[in-house]
Structures are given as structure tokens and as C-alpha cells.
């Protein structure tokens, strides 16, 4: 498989984790997933993590495509991640956090390939 797919998967994974943080950082969606209210402290942590994930998603894109094309893909992948998340949250709320685990796996695979000099 082409290495560029791994960059894309990692960026999508980080974008998904970021969007998940921003989403669960909103009282309405936190309740939708966990059926109990969101505490202000946890909300702040989730939103901070969310913004970080969205920003970090830029890194694999830059690594794979350089600045010009990387930024285009980054923004596109943020949209794609958020769209997937919205439909999971609406139809299968518990799956949206399981999706997060899958996303984390993609990021780890990417980091692994970086560490092994791939």
C-alpha cells in the first residue's frame, strides 16, 4: 500500500479525535453519548484536546504532501472526519467513541512508521 494512505489515515484519525473532543465538549452531545451532564472542568479539557487534535491533524498532511497540497487535504479531512462523527453520533452514539479508538490506532501506526524511518 502506498505510504500516502497512511499519512491520510493518520490525519483523518487526528481530525476525528479532535472533532470528537470538540463535540463531547458540548453539553448537549456529551449527554447524548454518556446520558449524564458534562462538568465544566471536563468540558474545558475535552475542548482543548479537541482543538489540539484538529491542529495536529495538519502534521501528517504536511509530511505527506508538503505545505501547499497538505493544507488543502487537512481542511478536507477535518470536514470528512466531522461528517462521519455526526452520523455515528446520531445513529449509534456508543460507536463514536469506539471510532475514536480506531482513529488512535491509525495515528499510532503512522507514528510507528515514522519511528521505523518509513
Amino acid at each position: 500500500m502506498n505510504i500516502s494512505w497512511l499519512h491520510a489515515a493518520a490525519s483523518l484519525g487526528l481530525a476525528y479525535l479532535g472533532m470528537l473532543g470538540l463535540c463531547l465538549g458540548m453539553a448537549r452531545h456529551y449527554r447524548q453519548r454518556y446520558h449524564h451532564p458534562l462538568t465544566p472542568g471536563r468540558g474545558r479539557v475535552l475542548r482543548l484536546a479537541g482543538w489540539s487534535g484538529c491542529l495536529l491533524a495538519l502534521a501528517p498532511c504536511l509530511a505527506g504532501w508538503g505545505a501547499a497540497q497538505g493544507v488543502v487535504l487537512w481542511i478536507g479531512l477535518l470536514s470528512a472526519a466531522a461528517t462521519g462523527l455526526v452520523f455515528l453520533l446520531a445513529w449509534r452514539p456508543p460507536w463514536c467513541t469506539r471510532g475514536g479508538a480506531l482513529a488512535a490506532l491509525a495515528v499510532l501506526a503512522w507514528l510507528g512508521s515514522l519511528a521505523s524511518g518509513g
Binding site: 494512505w5 463535540c23 458540548m26 487535504l73 478536507g76 470536514s79 462523527l85 455526526v86
Partner: protein
């Protein structure tokens, strides 16, 4: 009567421009989405071509050998080099009025007996000018502007962009859930929708106000391009001189353009003392759609000129073109565009559906006594421009496998199949009740796409290669999604009917 507020005015504009132009926007957006994979669809539509690993020197050698056989005396030769998305060698020969072309195996040089077809280019062509020449282009220009406006006034109407960023409530009422879907797809897809619409308008910029370029370039089409892209051709001397082998020139061109990066080769006046050979770089690894090129005198082998640095305005403009065409970024970028395009198509289709859902509940009486009849016509048009165009697109691909290979005007018949089926869907939608029309056409479109792999295997000999398989699997998944959608929609209609009867 009170004057409407700004938001109300924008809402009115969004509703009506969205409806009237949506009937064109959905087909334009859908075919544009398919056009992302134009090379793959073209490959699927010419199953005589098998994917074979090609090597540039060998590919040029087979092209050159064939052109020397058949192109004798033609002042123009062109070679399309094989690439990962276009595995065969294309050759063209002729003069300014008339050209002929053939497709060659990149290794053996065998002339492949490909069927006549417009290929995936039909979708690109329909997307850009509705297959209707200048008039079609003018309509697409207008539709592009309206789309851009609808995106902006949609933001104004929506207001709660950030609060409702992740909000989709499919369990709510029909109107609520469709509105949520429309909003969420529109808001989350907004960067792509703005980018693709804006760059689409920019590509057509010369068609909006052609007067100035017409005036300054004496009515010559492509005048501004000629100012930027230099030609190093020479006037033929009328003195015969044998054309030397092109292989050493390819080697030299590759040191300038990059190994494996030559996309097109143009040979002018082969057999003349002043013959030239131009090598053009392909675009698939850069955002800006500018093709570097280098030209040699064929007989002496001297370089006549090259363009590998471009003026910044050319870069700026062609970057916007490149952003629209997505030749860059490889399959991850193309898949991203494809999926974003489908999401955008869905957003607009849902917008059309919303119009009728709102009014089914609470008629607006906009057309006086004729309101019910006009609503019926609107519903029919909605079905035919959403589900109908999807069925027609599948019919285009089915026609490619079903029409006999030696049929006269074969390529035109394939396109005819698209328009004939599309016209039939309009008739069908006009005759059936809304629920039955949606169900029937979504099922038909879904089955037509889902069964495309069978049609492929049964209608074309030989093993599938990765590209054909990719088209088949994508068609299968998309088709199943449409069948599922048809089933959901028919259940909704049945539930609504049961509620009414009770």
C-alpha cells in the same frame, strides 16, 4: 404588511434559487463528482486495455514506430504517455482539420481494438457545459454564481452554525431531520463547497465577460493563454529531412522535467528539416495546473526553448484551476474530493426534498389555484434531477457494455442512452405519485449501479485489473446505498400514508 427582515429575505432567496437552480445543480454536482475519476471511468469503458507496467522509453519507442507507419505526411503527431491512471499509449496524427487516433499496448506496441467511446470525459463535459456547447456553458456560469450566492445566504439563514455544528436528529419529525441533514452536510462541507464553487466560477471567468479578451486579442480564442504559454514551433522549411529517433530527446527532456514525468509529446512537421519535438510534463504532483515543457529541433537535437518557471499570475490562476481539477495529491486527495462531492450532492438533493416536505405539511399557496399542480410538477422534477440523473449515469456505463462494438456512431449512442434514460425518468416521475416515483427510481438507480460489476464481467472479456475492479466496487457500494435509501424513503412514505388514513 410589515417589510420582511433581512433573514426572511435571504431565506426566500435561498429557497427559490435553491429550488430552481437545484434542478441543474444536482446533476452538475453529481457528474462533477464522477469526473474526479474520469481516467478510471475511461479505463473501465475501454476494457480492451489491460493495466501493464510501462516504461517511458519503451512506450515512446512503440508510439514512434507506429506513427512512422501510419502518420506519414501528417504535419501533427502527438503521443500520450502511459501513466498509473491511464495505462495505454495514445497516438494521434493528422492536420489542423482532421486527426486520427489509436491506442497501443505500452510494451508490445500492439494496436488495441478499443471500442469507440467518449469515456469518463462525458461526465466532465456534461459537468462543464451540459453537453450543450456555448449555451450550456453560459447556463453553467449562471448556476455557479447562484450556487455561490446560495452558500452565502444559506449561512445567513442558518445562523446557529456553531451551536448546531454536530446536530443531526434523525429520530425527529421528517422536516426537522431533513433540515438537520441539509444543515450539517452544508456546514461541515462548507470549506469544500466554497472552494469547489468558487474555483469553478474562476475557471469560467473568461466566459462571464468575454468582451475585453475578445477586443484585445482580436477575437482569438485562447489569446491570454498564448501570452503565457510560449510556443517554440518553427515554420516548416518544405525541405525533406528524415526524422531521427526520439529516444535521446526523451532522455534529455526527462533531465529537465523529471524522470517519468513526461505526459504528452508533440511532434510538428515530422520529416521536414525544421521539425520540432515538444515534451510536456504532466500535472499530477503539483497544486498549480501548469505544465512545464521543453522543445527540441528534431533533426539537430538542439533545444529551442523551455518553460519551467512561470509568471506569478499564471501560477495564481492555474492553482485555482488545479484546486478544482484535483489532479494533485494522488488517490487520497481524489477520494476526498469524490466523497465531499457526494456529500455536497446529497446536501442539495435534501434541500430539494425539504421544499416539498415543508409544503406537504403546510401548503404555501404561492401559485393560487394551480398550487397543487405546480407542487406535483416540482416533486416530479426533484425525483428526475436527483434519482433520475443517477440512473441515467449508470445507463451510460451499461450502454458501454451492451452496445455492439462495431456500431456506427457508437460513442454518440452511449451518450444518447444517458439522455434517453434521463428523459424517461422525468416521464416516470410525472406519471407516478411522489412516493412511488422516489421509490421506483431510487431502487432502479441503486440496482443499476450495484449490478454494474456483473454487467462488466459479462460484457467484457478478460480479467479485471485494479482500476476496473475499483470502479466496480465503488459502483456496488454506491448502488447498495441507493437501494437502502429507496427502502427507507418508501417506509417513510408508507408511514405517512398510514397516519393520514388513521
Amino acid at each position: 404588511m410589515k417589510a420582511p427582515t433581512f433573514t426572511q429575505s435571504m431565506s426566500w432567496l435561498h429557497t427559490w434559487s435553491g429550488l430552481l437552480f437545484g434542478w441543474l445543480l444536482v446533476p452538475i454536482f453529481f457528474t462533477g463528482t464522477l469526473a474526479v475519476f474520469e481516467p478510471e471511468i475511461s479505463h473501465w469503458m475501454r476494457p480492451e486495455i489491460r493495466h501493464a507496467p510501462a516504461e517511458p522509453a519503451r512506450a515512446l519507442a512503440v508510439a514512434e514506430a507506429r506513427l512512422r507507419q501510419v502518420g506519414e505526411g501528417a504535419p501533427i503527431w502527438r503521443v500520450q504517455m502511459p501513466s498509473s491512471r491511464q495505462p495505454a499509449v495514445g497516438i494521434v496524427w493528422g492536420n489542423r482539420e482532421q486527426t486520427r487516433e489509436e491506442v497501443l499496448h505500452p510494451v508490445s506496441g500492439e494496436v488495441l481494438p478499443v471500442r469507440a467511446t467518449e469515456g469518463g470525459h462525458f461526465f466532465t463535459h456534461f459537468h462543464a457545459e451540459l453537453d450543450a456547447g456555448k449555451v450550456g456553458r453560459a447556463i453553467v456560469c449562471l448556476v455557479g454564481l447562484v450556487m455561490l450566492a446560495a452558500l452565502i445566504n444559506g449561512i445567513v439563514v442558518h445562523k446557529k452554525i456553531f451551536q448546531d455544528f454536530f446536530t443531526f436528529r434523525p429520530q425527529s419529525s421528517a422536516q426537522r431531520s431533513w433540515l438537520d441533514a441539509h444543515n450539517v452536510l452544508g456546514v461541515l462541507g462548507l470549506p469544500f463547497l466554497l472552494l469547489i464553487t468558487y474555483t469553478g466560477v474562476v475557471i469560467l471567468v473568461d466566459s462571464y465577460l468575454p468582451a475585453a479578451t475578445y477586443h484585445f486579442y482580436d477575437g482569438k480564442a485562447g489569446g491570454p493563454r498564448g501570452d503565457v504559454v510560449r510556443s517554440f514551433e518553427r515554420r516548416p522549411a518544405g525541405v525533406a529531412a528524415p526524422l531521427p529517433s526520439l529516444a535521446p530527446l526523451l532522455q534529455e527532456a526527462e533531465t529537465v522535467l523529471g524522470a517519468g514525468h513526461v505526459g504528452w509529446i508533440g511532434i510538428r512537421a515530422p520529416g521536414d528539416r525544421e521539425a520540432t519535438v515538444q515534451f510536456m510534463r504532466h500535472l499530477d504532483d503539483r497544486l498549480g495546473a501548469v505544465a512545464d515543457h521543453i522543445t527540441f529541433a528534431a533533426v539537430s537535437g538542439w533545444e529551442l526553448g523551455r518553460q519551467t518557471e512561470w509568471n506569478p499570475v499564471a501560477y495564481a490562476f492555474r492553482t485555482q484551476v488545479g484546486l478544482h481539477l484535483v489532479h494533485f495529491g494522488g488517490y487520497p486527495a481524489q477520494w476526498l474530493y469524490f466523497l465531499s462531492g457526494l456529500a455536497g450532492t446529497a446536501m442539495m438533493a435534501v434541500g430539494l426534498v425539504l421544499f416539498t416536505i415543508k409544503r406537504r405539511k403546510r401548503p404555501g399557496h404561492e401559485f393560487g389555484a394551480a398550487t397543487a399542480r405546480v407542487y406535483g410538477a416540482i416533486e416530479s422534477l426533484n425525483v428526475a434531477t436527483v434519482a433520475g440523473v443517477m440512473l441515467a449515469s449508470a445507463a451510460f456505463l451499461w450502454a458501454n457494455r451492451l452496445l455492439p462494438a462495431d456500431l456506427a456512431e457508437r460513442a454518440a449512442w452511449e451518450i444518447g442512452a444517458f439522455f434517453a434514460v434521463w428523459a424517461l425518468t422525468l416521464v416516470h416521475a410525472g406519471l407516478r405519485a411522489p412516493g412511488a416515483a422516489w421509490r421506483g427510481q431510487l431502487y432502479a438507480a441503486g440496482l443499476a449501479w450495484a449490478l454494474l460489476p456483473l454487467c462488466d464481467v459479462a460484457g467484457a472479456p478478460g480479467l479485471l485489473d485494479a482500476m476496473r475492479l475499483g470502479v466496480d466496487l465503488t459502483a456496488l457500494v454506491g448502488g447498495l446505498a441507493l437501494v437502502y435509501l429507496g427502502w427507507r424513503v418508501s417506509r417513510r412514505f408508507a408511514a405517512a400514508a398510514a397516519k393520514e388514513a388513521a
